[in-house]
Structure formats: C-alpha cells, structure tokens
C-alpha cells in the first residue's frame, strides 16, 4: 500500500492525523508530513478512514 497526498489540495485540517497518526502528521508550521509512505498492511483500516475523512479528498491509496 502506497499513500499519495495531493499537497496542492491539502488544507491541513488534520483529520487524517486524527485517523492515522502513524502515517500523517500536521506540524507546527501548519504543513502535512507523511511519516510513512508505504505503511504496513495492519494500518490499512486507519488509512482508509483518513481517506474518507479528508475534507479535500487529497489522499489516495495505491495498491
């Protein structure tokens, strides 16, 4: 599983971080950082939740 974020669409609302903090982190500079672009399979449910919660639909999962 590969996590792809369209950084132009991202508004740093941090809903992804709340769903999957292992993968997404909004930092003090207000920007989103992807902590792990290829997270392990056991995090899939959390990442799927992040995809669904993202209010700008900026996140996609490949594979």
């Amino acid at each position: 599983m590969k996590v792809v974020v369209d950084m132009k669409a991202c508004m740093s609302n941090a809903l992804c971080m709340m769903a999957a903090p292992e993968v997404f982190e909004v930092r003090e500079d207000g920007m989103l950082y992807i902590l792990n672009e290829t997270p392990p399979e056991e995090l899939r449910a959390k990442v799927v939740e992040a995809v669904r919660l993202c209010p700008t639909q900026a996140i996609t999962i490949e594979g």
Binding site: A9, M11, S12, N13, A14, L15, M17, M18, P21, E25, V26, R27, E28, G30, R52, L53, P55, T56, Q57
Partner: protein, 392 residues
C-alpha cells in the same frame, strides 16, 4: 429478518458513507440512493470557502464514489415513509420498498421573514446557492450584508472580503459565535473580522429588507437601513423531516435515534437530520463533516448487526473553520463550561489553544492555528481529563 434491500434517502455525505460501509460489511443486496438534488453527492464545507472565492471549481466538490453497485435515483424527492409497509414514496408517486432504510436527508437553511425569493437574497446550502452568489459578485455586486455571525456567516464574510466586497455582518448576539464559543473567544472573532475590514452590527436584530423584487438593504431593529446589493443569511438550519410527518417517528428537531442510530426497527438516521442519543452529549443534532461520515458508517453497521448487537456511537464532536488565513478547530461540546482556560499561547496571539472546563474537567478545546496539537487535546476531551487548578 434478513436484509436484502437498503434504501438510503439523501444523496449526502452521510448517505454515501452509509452506502460505502454497507459494502465494507459485505452487504451484497441492493443499495438504492434517493437524492432530491440532481447532482451526485458533493462536499458542502467548501461552499462558504474555496468554492465561494473561486479557488475551487465544481468538479472538485464531487465526493468520491468508490463503488459502481449503487442504484442512484437522483432528482427524486421522497415525500412519504410508511414504516409498517416498509416503503418510501417519491414525488412521482412511485413507491420504493425496502428491508432497511437510512434517513440522511440533511437540513435546509432557514431564511428570515420576507427574504426568500428576492433578487440578491441568498442562503447558502447548495452548490446552486454558492454559484448564484459567485455570479452576482462576478457581475459587479460589491455591497454585501451577512445576517448571522455563526460559523457560516463568519466564513462567508471572510470569503467576500477576499473577493473585494464591502461586508457588514449583522448579529443578534453581542459577539460573533457567542453561543458556541463564549465571551472571550467571541471577542477574538470580533477582533479578527474587524481587522479584516468587516463592519459588525452586533446585538441588533433584522427588522426587514428594503427594496421590492430586488433587495436594496437590510433594515435593522433600530430603524437604520444598511444598503446592500447582496444579502446572505446564515441563521441556522431546519432538519428535512417534512416527508416523514406521517411516519410516526419522533421528529422533534430531527429524527430521534437511539445511541446506535436506530429510529425504528430496521430504520436508521444519520447526519444533519438525525437527533442522535449520544452517550456523552445526550440527544443532539451535530451538523459537522466527520460526524456525518461517522454516523453514516455507524448507522450502516447498526442495520447490518440488528438492534441487539448494535454498538453505541460515541464520537467526540470535531469541527473546523477557516477564516482569512486562520484555521480554527473545536474539539468536543463545551456544554455550559464554567471556565475557559488558555493553555498555550495567548488570545491576542496568532496561535493559541484554550480549553473549556466544567468542574475542572476538559469538555472541549478550541485550537487557533494549532492543528498540530489536535491529537493531544482530543485525547483530553475523550478522557474528560482533569486539569489542576491554575497556580498563579
């Protein structure tokens, strides 16, 4: 009884979330999604922000539909529900039978008396509403009045300033967002809007509107008239329950559901239309983005599992608002706090966090340009954490 067909009324965020979850849970019967609007489900939060300012265009609003196996009935308005016969009636007269029903018809914007139908008078709920406001400004309207300084009103004011309009906000309360955020944070919002050149008329009501077919101004309760080419009312919403009037369901301020989303046997509700018996907040209608998704998913799970095995939905309320270049987040439901304590930064700084306390326990947190701290404060709200009294 086994579930073979589910009808979802409301082609909305909550409705779509329910549809997706039903398939995730291996439901392989038919899913019919009935929607009053002609468009497939779309995002509403950008309507007062990115879409209103023109930063986003229509295609970006479409919600992702992950499955091909939904039966869409768009442009079809539900007009009735017969619980005993298990069928929904559409405006065309057609009856749609179901084994399970998801009610996700959302809410509609309320309008002040004498407002609707006038040229230049808008509420903001649908993409058509937002497009009409955009068109009007593109055709040269610059004098704008926003009625109501809740989150929608504040966001609209921010977007209209960005578009170069003169903006006056009229609010009955003494401060913007007073009822949600309280005195001190309301003051922060007042300062913010004033700093961006918005004129605020606070603590005053609207008595009527000047002009005939076309709106020309807003008449205040003290007799003054504020000239306007466009007026946008953001004074709250009414849940769309009219079609359920003869159903026998409890419809007082939304469809009453238990803690699992169930309104009646095999009938669940989700999103803005649902008054959910939240384990911590009691029966409450939450109009936020993530609760629409969460409730839609939980309601779907409840339909599949049945009443006995359904789980209570205990999600902490979360909400964000973007105004000017600032990002605000509200975690939890403060519910008559007895203290607001600033725990990071200061109210007059560009970045701060304030927590709402009741009996020394955290019931809510307001983050201002502090998204990076949201997990920590959500954990405090979730656990109703006790905060030591402030040592001076």
């Amino acid at each position: 009884m086994s579930l073979r067909s589910v009808v979802i009324v409301g082609a909305s965020l909550a409705g779509l979330a329910a549809a997706h979850r039903l398939r995730d849970l291996a439901f392989d019967g038919t899913i019919t999604i009935v929607g009053e609007e002609e468009s497939p489900p779309y995002q509403r939060p950008p309507l007062s922000k990115q879409f209103l300012t023109g930063d986003w265009e229509r295609p970006r609003l479409d919600l992702r539909i992950q499955r091909q196996d939904f039966d869409w009935r768009l442009g079809a308005r539900a007009t009735g529900l017969n619980v005993a016969e298990r069928r929904v009636t559409l405006a065309s007269g057609e009856h749609v039978p179901f084994d399970g029903l998801v009610i996700a018809t959302g809410a509609r914007a309320r309008a002040p008396a004498g407002f609707a139908g006038r040229n230049g008078a808008y509420t903001l709920r649908t993409v058509e509403d937002a497009s009409a406001i955009r068109d009007r400004i593109a055709r040269g309207a610059r004098k704008a009045v926003v009625v109501g300084a809740g989150f929608i009103g504040c966001e609209v004011a921010s977007s209209l300033r960005k578009l170069g309009c003169d903006v006056t906000v009229v609010e009955m309360d003494r401060l913007p967002l007073l009822r949600v955020l309280g005195e001190r944070l309301g003051e922060v919002c007042r300062t913010l809007h004033e700093a961006h050149g918005v004129k605020l008329e606070l603590g005053i009501g609207v008595d009527g509107f000047a002009g005939s077919d076309a709106i020309e101004g807003v008449r205040l309760s003290d007799g003054r008239v504020i000239e306007a080419e466009i007026v946008i009312a953001g004074i709250g919403v009414t849940p769309n329950v009219g079609w359920l009037e003869d159903s026998g369901l409890d419809l007082q301020n939304g469809v009453l559901c238990d803690a699992t989303g169930m309104a009646a046997e095999n009938i669940v509700a989700a999103g803005d239309v649902a008054r959910w018996d939240h384990p911590r907040y009691g029966p409450v209608r939450i109009e936020h983005w993530d609760s629409a998704i969460g409730q839609g998913e939980a309601a779907a799970a409840t339909l599949i599992s049945g009443r006995e095995r359904a789980a209570a939905f205990d999600m902490t309320s979360f909400f964000w608002s973007d105004q000017y270049e600032n990002k605000m987040q509200l975690v939890g439901m403060p519910q008559s706090p007895d203290e607001l304590r600033v725990v990071e930064g200061a109210l007059d700084e560009r970045r701060f966090v304030a927590v709402f306390l009741r009996g020394g326990r955290v019931t809510g947190a307001f983050l201002y340009n502090s998204m990076h701290r949201v997990i920590a404060y959500k954990a405090m709200v979730d656990s109703n954490a006790h905060l030591e009294a402030k040592t001076a």
